[in-house]
Structures are given as C-alpha cells and as structure tokens.
C-alpha cells in the first residue's frame, strides 16, 4: 500500500515506525531537519513542502497514494491538506488528525469531506476511561462495539488463589473470557491447559466487559470500582476525559491553574467541580481531601508537572494514578516513578490511524507492550482452512483466538465450538507474526 503522511511530528513518526516495513511511505513536512532524522532511521521517501499547498502535494505525488494521513499538530493544516488530498488522489482513503472534538462531530454528521477523523483528545479520553473501568488493568481496549474487551493485567501477590498457581484447565475463570497470553519476563507463552499463572506475570485476557470486571476483582481484590476521580489540568484532553467519565456516572473534580480556563470549564461542564489551583499545594490537597479520590488523572501540558503532581498525589494517599505522557519516553519514566498507568496521546492517535493501513479484512488493531504484541479483529476468508474446525483441534501457531463475532454479536468460544464462514475473530499474536496470521485466517 502506498501511504502518504503529512507531518513528521510525534504522531507521524509513530505511524512510520509501525508501518514502514510493510508499506511504501512518503512523508511530507515543512522542516527538513525532521525529515532528515526520519529518513536516517527508516526507509521512507521524504518531501519538504507545505501540506496546505496543493502544488507541493501534487509534486510529492500524493495522487499515487492509497492512504493519505494528515497528522500535523495543527488542525487547520490537516483539514486543508485532507481536502486537497481528496481532490488530488480520488481513490485514496484520507484520514486527518484533529485536536478539536467539534471536527469529529462535523465529520460524523457528514459535513467534512474526508474518510476518517481521529481526535487525539477523544482517543486518549477513551483509553483512560477504559482503564478506569477496569482499575487493576495495565491496558485495555474494546472490540466489536464494546462487546469484547481486551485487558492486560499485572498479576500480583494478593491475587486470588482461584486463578493463580493452579493449572489453567483447573482454574475457576470468569465466564466468557480467555487468557490469551502470559508474559513472563521477556518470554511470552500462548497458554495451554497445564500452564499456570504465577505472581509477577503479566497476562492478556480477552472476554466480555463483565468478565473483565470480574478478572479485575480476582487479581486485585482490594480495588473497588472507581466512582470519584480528580483530573489535574482542564485543557482539551482533561475536559474530554471529564465529559466521558461524567457520562459514565462518575463524580469528577478538576484542578486547573489558569483562572480564565477554570471559569470556562466550570461554565461548560456544570457536573464537574472545578478548582482554580496549582494542584501541587499541599494545603489545598489536604483541605479538599484529594487523597480520598479513587483515582487521579494528570492531564496537564507538561510531563514534568504531571509527574510531580502525580507523586504528590500518591503522597497524599491517591492509590490509582493515571498520567498523560506527552513524550513517548515519559511512559517508562512515569511507570518507574510509580505512576500506575501512563498514556501517550500521540501513541494512542497513531495506533488509531495505523489501523487504516491494514488489510481491509482487519477491522481493528490494538498494540500491547509498546508494539510487541497485537490483537487484531479479522474477518475470515471464505476459503480459510479454519472454517469448520473445532477449537480444540486447532493448532497453536503463534496466535490465539480470544473471541468470535458472528452476525454482530460476540461469542466466547469453547473447546467444541467451530468457526463459520463470515466470522470475525479477535486474535492475539506477536506483532512480527501479525501479517502471517492474517494471511492464514
């Protein structure tokens, strides 16, 4: 597939990184230095030019591409580039990134002439709200309109002995769920009946949302459902998260340093309690009992501030901290420092955009552990050799099927179930094997 990427910022780089091996990529950016750095690392064509110039787009041969991704940090540039790309490359799929939820709404109403609009803020908010829904999870994603949930857990010492330390075939798992993988140190196991989950493992579970909740309770018995959340930073990401959590019935408090912004947000989100404070004032944290919140989300613009505020919140007793990590490297640093979960908005956005580069049979992709593992939502070929085979007879070849979507509803297969033509499968695999797995299916 020929992919044309406009913007070599963090999102652009993440996209190139994920797609450069299998696809033919051209990157356009106004800054030569960024392009040089990119070309030094990956085998991609680069073109110095302006995404809002139709002439530049044409001379970079946008018209030859199958997929155009406009992912600069500026909405206006992406919108204009998307429009021009649409004119120049009539058959290409156009995807634009935006940081304004309004454009997403416009696109849903069919008012924007592009194929897809991806909002970093919304994707980040969704990622965080999924994590909050399953507090013990390291990462989670949903498939098939929310019917199937993928959750990655850290197994700790306090976990229930019903599932830990016993052979999988004897363990009492929540119904409608499957352990797709056990990650032990650097090794990944596709589990068989006699494998065991041990403390210290990291496991990947695919199941119904209900089952995901039950897993959470089994693995972390102390952690109750999150109802009371404090969000530090009421910028675009912070407010997008707040709106989503309020919609889910949570009580949300927000802390914003800028007075004007605090007022604006307090006016537009009446359900949230907004404070005009720095969030690192111990008196304030004490007086407002921030430490009693079930979870704290750090969505300020500056990673260092997020980290410090998160540490301070921990000191004040917040057990569950989630931070936005604007720089990809911060993710690791944050987790080293004791932040429970870090979300990189650009990574999330890139992940969302990457799925447009997949085989049309692949509806969705979730990336785990950086980019090491993938969970794919793939429709079976009519000629697939797996059709009509019982699950217990299926050979495990570097992949495991966690769920089946048949006629729009999710099925969590048992040993005797069979795959049918037209089924969609939610399959876990190593990223390097993903292509082979998709072809095999």
């Amino acid at each position: 597939m020929k992919i044309f990427v406009i913007g070599a910022g963090q999102v652009g780089v993440a996209i190139v990184e994920a797609l450069h091996e299998e696809h033919d990529i051209t990157v356009l950016d106004t800054e030569a230095s960024r392009l040089g750095a990119l070309a030094g690392r990956y085998d991609v064509a680069t073109f110095e030019g302006d995404g809002t110039s139709r002439r530049d787009l044409a001379s970079a041969r946008v018209q030859d591409s199958d997929l155009v991704i406009a992912c600069t940090s500026r909405d206006e540039v992406n919108l204009v580039a998307g429009m021009f790309a649409r004119r120049e490359a009539r058959n290409a799929t156009t995807v634009i990134r935006t940081s304004n939820v309004e454009y997403v709404e416009l696109w849903r109403e069919g008012q924007l002439d592009v194929d897809f609009v991806v909002s970093s803020e919304l994707e980040t908010a969704h990622a965080i709200s999924r994590i909050i829904g399953v507090p013990a999870a390291r990462q989670t994603d949903v498939f098939a309109e929310g019917q199937v949930q993928l959750v990655e857990f850290d197994v700790e010492d306090g976990a229930s002995s019903e599932v830990v330390g016993v052979p999988l075939r004897d363990a009492q798992f929540p119904r409608d769920s499957k352990v797709a993988a056990i990650i032990r140190g650097e090794r990944m196991l596709l589990p068989r009946g006699d494998d065991r989950i041990e403390p210290g493992d990291r496991i990947v579970v695919i199941g119904s949302p209900q089952a995901a909740q039950e897993w959470s309770t089994l693995l972390a018995p102390g952690e109750s459902k999150v109802r009371d959340v404090v969000i530090f930073g009421a910028g675009r990401v912070g407010t997008a998260i707040a709106r989503l959590l309020i919609e889910q019935g949570m009580s949300v408090r927000m802390i914003e340093t800028s007075r004007a912004r605090a007022f604006e947000v307090a006016e537009s989100i009446p359900e949230a309690r907004v404070y005009n404070a720095t969030g690192i004032d111990p008196d304030f944290l004490e007086r407002e009992r921030i430490g009693n919140a079930h979870a704290a989300i750090f969505a300020m613009r500056d990673d260092t501030k997020n980290l410090y505020a998160a540490s301070l919140a921990k000191v004040h007793g917040v057990k569950f901290t989630i931070s936005i990590a604007h720089e990809a490297v911060s993710v690791e640093a944050f987790e080293q420092a004791g932040v429970n979960i870090s979300v990189n908005p650009r990574g999330v956005t890139a992940e969302e955009i990457i799925r447009f580069a997949h085989d049309p049979r692949t509806k969705q992709v979730a990336l785990l552990e950086g980019n090491r593992y993938e969970v794919l939502d793939v429709t079976l070929r009519d000629t697939s050799e797996y059709i009509g085979k019982r699950f217990q007879d299926m050979p495990i070849r570097g992949a495991i099927i966690g769920a089946v979507v048949r006629n729009g509803s999710a099925i969590f297969p048992h040993r005797d179930d069979m795959l049918e033509a037209g089924d969609r499968v939610i399959v876990f695999t190593e990223a390097s094997d993903a292509d082979r797995v998709v072809k095999a299916l």
Binding site: I255, E256, E267, Y275, A277
Partner: protein, 511 residues
Amino acid sequence: MSQAVAQRRAPRRALAVDVPASLNLIGTLGKYLGLVTIFPTAVAIGYGETFWPYVLAGVVASGGSYLLERLTAGSAGRVGVREGFLVVSATWLLTPAFSALPYLFIGGDQLSHPIDAFFEGMSGFTTTGASVVTDFGEISKSLAMWRQFTQWIGGMGIIVLAIAVLPRLRVGGRQLLESELPGPEIAQLSERIRETARLLWVLYVGLTAVLVLLLAGLGWIGVDDRMTLYEAISHAFGTMPTGGFSTQPDSAASFAPASQWILGLFMLLAGANYLLMYRAFVRRQPGRVVRDQELMLYVALVAIASVAIAIQLWGHGIVEGEESIRTGFFQAVSIITTTGMVSADYAVWPSVMLLTIFALMFVGGSAGSTAGSIKVIRHLLIGRILRRELSQTVSPEVVLPVRLNGAPVDERTLRAIAAFVLLYVGAWAVGGSIIAIDSAIVGAGLGPLDALGASATALGNVGPGFGIAGPFGSFAPLGDVSKLTMIALMFLGRLEIVPVVVLLTRHYWRL
C-alpha cells in the same frame, strides 16, 4: 509667560458627552410625546369638561421640544452609550413635569401647588401610584383619566415606545432600551431592539385591551354594577403598568369580588417578564417558559405571601372564607408587583401583617415587566451569590459559576446586581431618614417607621405607604422636602438608580 500660566493650570479635559445630540433626541421624543394629550382632550370633550389644559400641555410639550430639536439640529452627532444615560434621565424628569401641567391648571386646591402637581405627575409616570389627592370627588373625569393614562404610558417606557413607533429615531445601540427596561440585562435580547420594543408594546396593548374587555364585561352582565367602561379603562391603565392609581378613594375595594380577582390575576401577569409571556402566548413555547427559574420563584413568592396574609386575616377574624383568600392574594400580588392598588385598608391590620407588607415592597416583579423595586431575579441571584460565597469560604479554590436557567451569568452582571442592591438599600435609608426628619420638623404625623415605609414605597414604585399615608390615606400632609425626596426616590426607582447616579460621576462627563 502666558504659556507658563497655561501649563500650571490643570489641563481641562474634553467633554465626553455630546450634549447637543442628547438634547436633540430629547426634543424629538418630547415633540411626539406631546401628542398623548389627544386622549385626555377627547375624554374631556366627551364628558363636556374643559379640555384646554390638555391641549395647552400638549402644545407646550411639543412646541418646546420642537424648539429644542431645531436649536440643536445642526450640531447633532450620534447618540451613544454616554448620551443614552443623559437622554433617559432627562426624559424621565421632563415628562412628569409636562404631565403635571393639567394638574397645575385645573387641579384645584389639591393638586395645583407645583410640588404637588409634580409629585402626582412623577408618581403617575413612574407607575408608583402614591398620591397627594385626598378628595376624589373634586377631580374631573378627564383629569382622573389623564392621571391613569400617565401610568400606562410610563409603564412600558416612553423611550421603548418611541423606539417601537418612531421610524427614524437616531438610536444606535440597546443602551437606551436597557436603561429604561426594568431589571438587569441578563437575557440577551436576540431580536433587534426595534423589534423587541415593538413586541413588548404589542403585548402590553393586547393585555390591556383584554383586561378592559373582561372588566367592562363584568359591568355589562351585572356582576359588578360599579364597573363602567370608564372604570374598566382607568383600572386597566392602573393595573397593566403596575401603577396603582385608582379613580376611587377606596381603590379596588369599591368593586365586586369578581373584578378584584381579575385585577389580581392581571397584576400577576403585569409583574411577569413580558418577553417570556411573548414566548408563551405568541410563539407558543410554554414549556421553556414554565421552567424559567425567575418565573417559578415569582409565582411561589406570590403564593406564599397570599397564603401568609390570608391565614393571618382569617386567624385574626378580620375577614373570613373566600374574602380572606381574595384579600390575601390581592394585597400580596399588588405589593409584590409594586402595583399598590388595594382591596382592603391594610393600615389597620395588626403589626405583624404590616411588616409582611413592608417586606413585600422589596420583592418587586420579574425583570422585563412593568414592576419596580429590586425584582425577583436579583433576589434569586443574590441568594446564589451568597451561597457561592459560603462554599468558597470552605474551599477558596473552587470555581462556581452562578447559573440562571442553566446558563452561567456573567461576573460583571453579578457585580452590577450586588451594587444595585446596595445602592437601593442606601437610597431607601437616606430617603427614609430625610422624610422622617422633615416630618418631625413640620409635624406631618408620620413616624420614623412610616417614613421608612414612605421611602420604600416611593423607591419601589409601589404607591401606598403606612400610617396616614396608608392605602386609603394620602401623602398630602407631608412637607415639601419630604415630597421632593419622594419624587427623587420614585425617579431613581423607575430608572433603577444606576443610569441616574452615573450622571453624578466625573468620569461620565470628562474623558
């Protein structure tokens, strides 16, 4: 040398107000305003009474205004925000003076003294309804009708009327309209100002016509034999602008219960927001209207006050049954909406009830109504401001926008409301003190509490006071200083203080 002198003198700042332009607009307004005397002239001719005083008043007003307009025509610039304040204040001083002319000419002993005539004129135009008349028998029919008519013209506003009907009035913004319209400017009027002014007047005229028909209908079918067409019109003119003047010495008490109920209900309407009523009746969006928080509180306050008074009336055995409910409702709605028409002499009621009436004088109707006083919306928002203050005492950092009907209210508006209430209470206290001192000096027979009541009733544009100035009494015995003070209070109250007080600041006049 001369340069040094010029430098030493403080530089005289340029005048910030375009006075000629303001005078020009005042002239234009007055020129047309004189035409309203056609109505009392017709009434006088109809009843075979002397009509020259009205014609003369009209000629004086229109002629004088025409001269003013011509004299300032050449230099007239644009009427902006600053000029607006001057125009509104001056218009509201000059118009009552003009309306006092007929009183001066044929008012007899009761009204022909200039201060008394001006008092009655100001009381009429500001829809206060406080009167210095003691013997209604001596007032001619046309003069009584003129007295009622001034309230009706003043109720919805002279300038609002001018904007609505005059084709090329040189008015740029909404400042003029807003200075005159009662209530804080919270709901942004979406229509153009001319459109807004028009629909306000259309609704006002419409409701008045309906009230006249209903009252006259009661007279025709024999339910209320004292309700002639003349009385129906004059009491509609006293009710819709929440005025309170009556042609009868005992006000609404001289009419049948059915008439009182109808008058009470129309007072309730007159005290509601006209723009809201327009939405309900004309655009047929009753759902949105019913959820309006100010309207709900307004209706609730009327209901609570009615019941409170009714219970006390029945409890003290003053009146019983339907009459206690009717009397309670009528007095409550009349005082809350600052109408001041009464169906009973509350001056003789026990003191707890007097205090109730006193307190109700500070309520006022809704914003965008013809009512005076503080107004329900300001009470509502003051309550919310206080609640926020208390929350922020506990959590200083919390940001709590004050909302009205779900929409956040601008902080400036909130400050303006707090300032208004402070000014209002201040004006009331100062006015009350002056009246009390003056009454003590001239021996008017008005005690300190009654003086404060007189101040409250004038500032709130309510009408009746307490003691000798009670519902069936008169302000005639007051000294001239007290009367002038009340005139000033009525004027301040009608324009809601700020547009007038602004004129007293240096910043207004000089750049």
